[in-house]
Amino acid sequence: MAPLTPYTYIQCPCSDPSNLSYSRASDSGSPIDGNPGFDDEEHTFDPRAPRSNYSLYPLEYLLYCEDCHQIRCPRCIAEEIATFYCPSCLFEVPSSNLKSEGNRCTRSCFQCPICIGPLSVTSFETQPDPNLLAAPDHAAAPHSGPYALNCSYCHWSSAEIGIKFDKSNGIHGQLAKLRNGGTTRLTAKERKERRKDILQSGGGGGGTAPGASGDTGNDQQAIDMETQFTNLKSFYQGQLSESTSGGNGLSSLGDLGFASPTSLSRIMSIYTGGSLHDKKSKSRVGSMREALDPNEGLIVADLDESAAIEKLHSEGIDGTVDTEQLLNQPPYLGEPHLHGRSRFGSELRPIPYLLRTKRSKRCPVCRHIISKPEAKIQTTRFRIRLIAGNYVPSITIRPLNLNDNNGAAGTPLPPTAPLPDTLQPLKPAHFLLIFKNPIFEGVKISLATPAKTPGRFASKVTVLCPQFEIDANTDVWDEALKDDGARRRGAGGGRKGDERPGSTQGQQRAEAGKIWERGRNWVSIVVEVVPASLRLDTLPTEGPEGEKVDMSPLKEDEDVLEIPIFVRVEWEVDAVGDDLGSSLASSRDKEAKEKRELAYWCVLGLGRVSQA
């Protein structure tokens, strides 16, 4: 197993279980008795709890609202759409098209149904004939149809599913009218026209007229889902408008999904004139009839799949598609319901590219914009983007070698050094946490960790220095202008303002209450862990309240030592500049400072514990 690179995750405060209502696992809809029950006295965040995966983010994924001074994650942000566009042709799509044309590109942008690579339109005539390409004058030999969609990666061609195009443009429109195998499909309108034609050509005898019969027969055989939908919809609309004029209106379907007994008692009451029934739906039942034929949307199912089973025999597994390919298929209603036939490669359709959006993001509380993309589709830049990393201290983790007896003791491993494979159970290990302050004010950091990590295998955790201050992220240039001597409290002779307390070189000791090292806008501290043994036989036989202990084998990632840390960041800013308070503040105390704080849970992944 690859060694684990230490990592940091932040829990967005919006996901804190105490902020949400539905952490009531045991509450099965019983009346809420006024005790919300979320304020456990020991509220420690458990990064291994299944819900944690939904609330943890790497710092790079988080934004920040400058007005609310709060972290914003993808779950607690309001989005607005700046542009819709096709990722293939990069054309912008007006939002009005979305409703009518759907969520896919309607130009000629398609993905391969086999490998999702881009498909291109190529002519059949030119492809197999290399001479034509070599011909001096391309214009003299214009490409002519038929055309196909081809994948240059896996060489799939729409010809394999029997689909060829007459023209090289407007592929989307042409494809919509073609079924796999190449037969053209009637639109609902055409179907109606056709019916009219049959009627006018004197075949009024109800579908049995010679000549017309074959046609209508085919129509009914092959009625596709789109047509069924259209027929059904107009059937219902007709029925509803009828019953509306009859005075019953919308209520004729009014009991849908309602009063559904799962016992016979209810149906008994129907028959014995039970009170419930007639109270609810006096006389409405029956004001609308059901659909009776395909033209009204009723399709009798053809259950005979022997042809498909035959096909499965002749083509074997190679004739079928895998789950991924099936899931990538766009919804397609141009066929009757495929049921099990959807598994065949011959039923695949080219995939029109899904449109994408560029989105602006607002703080849902104060409505300020915190992210706004450039309008141009080709660029991925942002005009505004308040990333949390510019406001929230970052934490870098580095293994620290304190116990080594040779000269390297006390030096953190350089970032490039190979990581130690695993942590040894029950053997203390040390890590350096480097906090870097991105803001222009100095901050005070307070850390809290549980003494033992939550979960089945409790490792001991000690943060040697849980409270410290980090200097402001002043301009490096400013820094240089200042007196670079002993401007820091208790500083030793750090070079370039860096500080190494209690050390000149090499032999550094981790001490409780002391930071390890300090720089311009960063501080490093030491955390000591004693990893738990992962052996199941070391687990207690029962929990503190006599409950059963989970003795199941090690779960995925349960061997990773993760420690939850509650981080509180406090700082002060000048009160001036606040729109509302500026006049007030100046009239009162010019030195008024505003206290700010930010607090959140963090998860540090330190490494895998050896299972040996």
Binding site: C14, S18, Y22, A25, S28, P36, D39, E41, R51, Y54, Y57, H69, P74, A78, E79, K99, N103, L199, G204, G207, M225, Y236, L240, E242, L250, L253, G254, D255, L256, G257, F258, A259, S260, P261, T262, L264, I267, M268, I270, Y271, T272, G286, A291, I299, L303, S306, E310, H313, G316, I317, V321, D322, P331, G340, S342, R343, V365, L580, G581, A599
Partner: protein, 570 residues
Amino acid sequence: MAGVLPHRSVANIKSPGGPNSGSGPSTPMRPITSTFASPSSLRADEDIIVIEFDTRKLQVGFAGDSTPRGTIWFGPDQQRRVGDFRAWLPDYVTDWRQRATGDQWGKDYELWQYDIRDQDLGVVGDRAERALREAFTKYLLIDSRPRRMVCVLPSGLPVPLLSAVLDSLFSRFQPPTVALLSPTVSLAVAAGVRSALIVDLGWSETVVTSIYEYREVHCARSVRGGRMLTEQTHDFLAKHLSQAPKEPTQDNHEQDREYVLSFEECSGIAARLVWCKPSQTSAAAKPAEGLPTVQEHDECEEVQGTSPAKEPTVVNIPLKSAGSPMSLELPLDSLTEPCENAFFDTRYDSHSSFDDHELPLHVLVYRSLLKLPMDVRSICMSRIIFTGGGANVLGLRQRIFGEVSHLVQERGWDAVEGKAVEQLRANPKLKRQATRQAGHGSTGVASQSGNSVGAEQDGVWHDAANVVPEVDPIEEQLKGGTDKRPRAQGEMRAIESLGAWTGASLITHLKVPAIATIDRELWLQQGASGASRASEVDVKAQQRQSLGPGGLMRGASAGAPWTLGIWGTS
């Protein structure tokens, strides 16, 4: 105050080192984040979102559309942290044992389990939210303005699960209202019928629901579903891998199962290659009831039905998750075995030895029909709708249909089964009703409000004759006048439905008010416990409201009782 907007986590979490200062915060009873300012002013009114939730997937789209715009399947990768890309690592596929063995095999692919005892309901809410967010962004391409929603949820969904999903919807997406529709009724609507027998060959179970006049009148379940098919596929492949796990004992499906192949691989093979033998009984001669099918089943090489003259087709099945890549050469005909075991279990020759919850599917369907009153049965059996993932097993629908037809032929409807039916049959009133109905023939019964309930009920099929049909001259001529066609009844017939999602889309588009329509404010205040039983809600008042300026589906207003419909009755 301007500067320090105290947010909850700071207030609630104790300061480092110190005990929590004081009692719990004075939050309202159901503290849903008030982070979101007055959403109603920014509501996007135009689109109503229709969401169909299922154990394995959810589908989203806009009301009025013929098909959902996208489907999200639940899977393990959605359960990882943001920024966790291990699924892209090369050995991820072969590493499956770490993630899901034992009773966890395949569970990552389910949104919920109906047995809520070992489930973290919060996770269900989180998963639903994450999947919806992906669906909204990727397929609906919508912004985050609040929109009204219509949810299709399994009728048997336990209230705590329903509650978890609604909590997630209301607190994270702020829909002003959420209307609930049952999939069975939606399926009937999407097939054009008012009554149906819905055979949902679902994932965790197969459910047979009888719908009569848009009401669920009977419902029966069997654990024989997609999950069992996948497990049987696994056992079948494992057996041929010769590192066979102990053959699962007949009455022990779940426990102590050892898996040698990954869920992904087995479900993939089940979807590609497993198929269903045609009904042996469809031919005139049916082997005697007691004939042991066990032997031929075990050496399953010989098939009935498909071209027995031909050489048996052999398929090559590549397997990646067995430890090292390998492949199996198996006759395609043997791949009917998982289907037999999962859905029919031919190891038994008599269905009397099955528990009620594991009836073979044809018996389940037959018994469901048997339990219906005669005329309801007569209507339902002519409107059988197969749905669910199992409907994709080639040949399965026909097989069930054939077996049921055979049972009907063989036993008719007089088989003594079920006490309730007995009572029904013994009830003289019912008998009278039935004969009266039969006597009516096509004379028709006016369905005016003054009529007796019974008349309204059996007005279903002859009533339509009274209704002045749609005036479409072409249609008129085609049919040759007023619609007097007989309604199908009394004969086994299967029909196609466009699916529950599409049914819900139609219902919503036709502005039919759903009864279980939940108002956001009320939900946030009261939760599921605020709901009244469906029977206590004044439907008329709701409907009046729904026609008012608030528009359709604007459900209960403050103070008025509201309901979770069928979900609230359990």
